[in-house]
Symmetry: C2
Subunit: 221 residues, 2 copies
């Protein structure tokens, strides 16, 4: 009974996600669903990406949080279009929440849309939004064991960004071993090491994004 | 409709939690529901607490994770009774999962039971388990803004342990400001600063636990 309800919910979500994806494609918008634990650095990554890519592409941001508009305020200070979704108690964004929000968004002014999901390594992995790529930000203070504990999230990600590498000298964290475990769960995943404090890896991240965007553009035409 | 279903689920959960609480009280077991983001240090805290308190009280542990038994294995190496609950996809423990597990547990050998919840700052706050105290481990790399984003978790906690203080020299994190915001949300909460690497604050944490246990014992007799 419970499973049936969940299947229905996920089925309806999938249909709405497809609608969102069609809308993004019709407008030529490449969308990234950014997911992570609380405080892994999603907003800092978006801010770094805006700084690096604002001359190359038109960026927009949708911020998802249970509560508060702190992240949207930080993005708005950069002069980038942004909308905050507050989920109330919900622990993830879903395709319907996104769909409702898109109508309030200046889609014609955007080529690259970041959707920052609610900070949670579990439920956001189950709800596709209509994004083109799912990107997981994994921060080194969280420890090496996370792929074992949250396998679905690591399995569904198109890219994993290992963030806060500036803290590596002060922690027991083996990035090689961590990457190896991720690859066992998800063979095709792209793995990048970044620091939103020092800027390490942001150039490679921007290149990866631009490649994905042009590949998508190539598919359409 | 959706709200009705959720109310039913929470109502049933509350009833089962009360059963669990009665069982704990009948056996003289003090229980702590440990909650946090992924990788904030719940297991490390339990290991430190075992080291500090094993001569003073008989400890047992129930480990909750979506997947894997890594944490239970780490606890078992300390020679402490432990059971792992794997929730499958579920993002929190509930009173029923705990109830099912208690029958397999040597309750007669335990005075202090830690229930390590699934790493998630949202849903675990909604599901009481029958615990005597809810303790939130908040780690400094997650940033100061978490109480604004996850208010229910900070509101329901009886104690907040600010963990990984050994990383403070390398981060922008104002513990005074963080504590002030938590107190605004939750006036009566106990706040302690700890490091499971250096051992800072573990003595105070152990004292706090012993005080809670003896107060509970006093209430019963």
């Amino acid at each position: 009974m419970e499973i049936k309800v969940l299947k229905d919910i996920l089925g309806v979500n999938e249909q709405l996600a497809e609608k969102n994806r069609q809308l993004f494609d019709s407008k030529g918008i490449f969308t990234v669903n950014l997911m992570s634990s609380p405080g892994a650095g999603k907003t800092s990554l978006i801010l770094q990406t805006i700084e690096k890519m604002r001359e190359k592409t038109k960026i927009g941001v949708i911020e998802g949080d249970v509560s508060s508009s702190l992240d949207a305020e930080a993005i708005a200070r950069e002069g980038v279009p942004v909308v905050q979704i507050n989920t109330g108690g919900e622990c993830h964004l879903d395709a319907n929440m996104l769909h409702q929000t898109l109508s309030k968004f200046p889609l014609q002014d955007i080529e690259l849309l970041f959707i920052e999901n609610v900070g949670n390594l579990i439920c956001p992995a189950e709800f596709t939004l209509g994004e083109h790529k799912k990107v997981l930000v994994a921060s080194v203070p969280e420890g090496e064991d996370k792929p074992y504990k949250y396998p679905l999230m690591f399995h569904t990600a198109d890219a994993v960004l290992i963030n806060k590498t500036d803290l590596l000298p002060y922690l027991k964290f083996d990035t090689e071993a961590f990457s190896r475990v991720i690859k066992e769960i998800n063979e095709k995943v792209e793995i990048l090491q970044i620091s939103c404090v020092t800027g390490q890896g942001i150039e490679q991240w921007a290149s990866w994004l631009l490649t994905q965007m042009s590949q998508r553009q190539g598919k359409k035409t």
